[in-house]
Symmetry: C2
């Protein structure tokens, strides 16, 4: 499933990419912000060459954009991006739902993790557990390539999550919905589970595109 942080003995470029990825996901840079090679190099204590390599890695995740001679900027999502992402989510997660079987306890456990994080008010952790939940649904399809693609997709989504003004208001409703979804799956009611998933995605997409429209004036 990857998405693991690189160990301390991993290549410097990978470690640099990890810290930058975290900073971006946590919203420490805003969409469109330029990432200057020199300042980041000195901030992370690595050379400019290493920073440039880490940029290429981040570009693979869709978290930054690279424009020749203008450097990289934090990716900024448009309304069309949100639409595209959620269209694909609907298609893939619905397919995945039909294949979910032995992973059900894992899904239930992930909802539990999200609930614990919510109790602590750690909405970043809630978000992480939520995304891992949906990644697990897709993983039921057993396709490494779809897994990788979906992971990039969710990484992009975090850009939008980071821009949400009230994380709690955004993430809290999904706790109950995911719990409900697991219940429906456990009771074997696939049709109802599918309907609930579609409704979930619909709600999230609306909230995000509303935020985007608001943010872009």
């Amino acid at each position: 499933m990857s998405a693991l942080p690189s160990s301390s003995q991993a290549p410097a470029a990978a470690r640099a990419a990890d810290t930058l990825r975290e900073h971006i996901i946590e919203g420490q840079y805003r969409s469109g912000d330029p990432l200057r090679e020199a300042s980041i190099a000195s901030a992370l204590g690595v050379s400019r060459n290493t920073v440039r390599e880490s940029f290429r890695l981040l570009a693979q995740d869709g978290l930054v954009e690279h424009a020749p001679h203008r450097g990289v900027t934090v990716r900024s999502l448009t309304a069309a991006d949100i639409e595209d992402i959620y269209r694909i989510r609907r298609a893939l997660e619905l397919l995945g739902l039909e294949a979910v079987g032995p992973d059900l306890p894992l899904l239930s456990d992930l909802v539990g993790q999200a609930e614990e994080a919510a109790a602590l008010g750690d909405w970043a952790a809630v978000s992480t557990a939520d995304l891992r939940f949906h990644q697990t649904v897709v993983a039921a399809l057993g396709s490494p390539r779809l897994d990788a693609m979906f992971q990039r997709l969710l990484a992009e989504l975090r850009l939008a999550f980071a821009a949400m003004p009230d994380p709690r208001e955004f993430h809290e409703p999904y706790l109950r919905r995911n719990r409900l979804l697991v219940g429906l799956l456990e009771s074997g009611d696939r049709a109802a589970a599918a309907a609930e998933l579609v409704a979930y995605l619909e709600t999230a997409e609306r909230a995000l595109s509303r935020m985007l429209r608001w943010r872009n004036r």
Copy 2:
């Protein structure tokens, strides 16, 4: 639709990646072959830094693998890879087929290009036109992300194509099948078109996995 070669004034890393991509696709390196930074740098007349950056770009296409402290090697596909790729092709191209409409003349034109290339015995060009044909089918879905993913998928496939002993025997049958497919679409018989596409993919997958099994002892 991208996949365009970088212009001569593009960054050196991008140009180097283009050259290497072409070499790999044309089968000048065999699967598993190591790509040595130093030798490639001197061969292309660029610095090792630039070569390293180009490696990161090629990794995005899935054409090379990067192992820490062991450098990059030309990706080698397994039977599981072929299976995964064709499962996704079936799903995406069938969806795309339903959305094909105003692109029909373009599809017909691409088959024409393939036929011309075949007449000249240029099987690499036949392969390119064929892949572009299927890329166009998926493009009918109108999703930039699915387009990008599909392009990576087809780039990986070319690794297997390059390993085919007799390109003509492999590619020739698909000319007629694509022409047939366009005819069925033009006559509006979507069901028959879908069936033909599935049969096409089945044949190709079989041929490739047979080759893989033979090649790996």
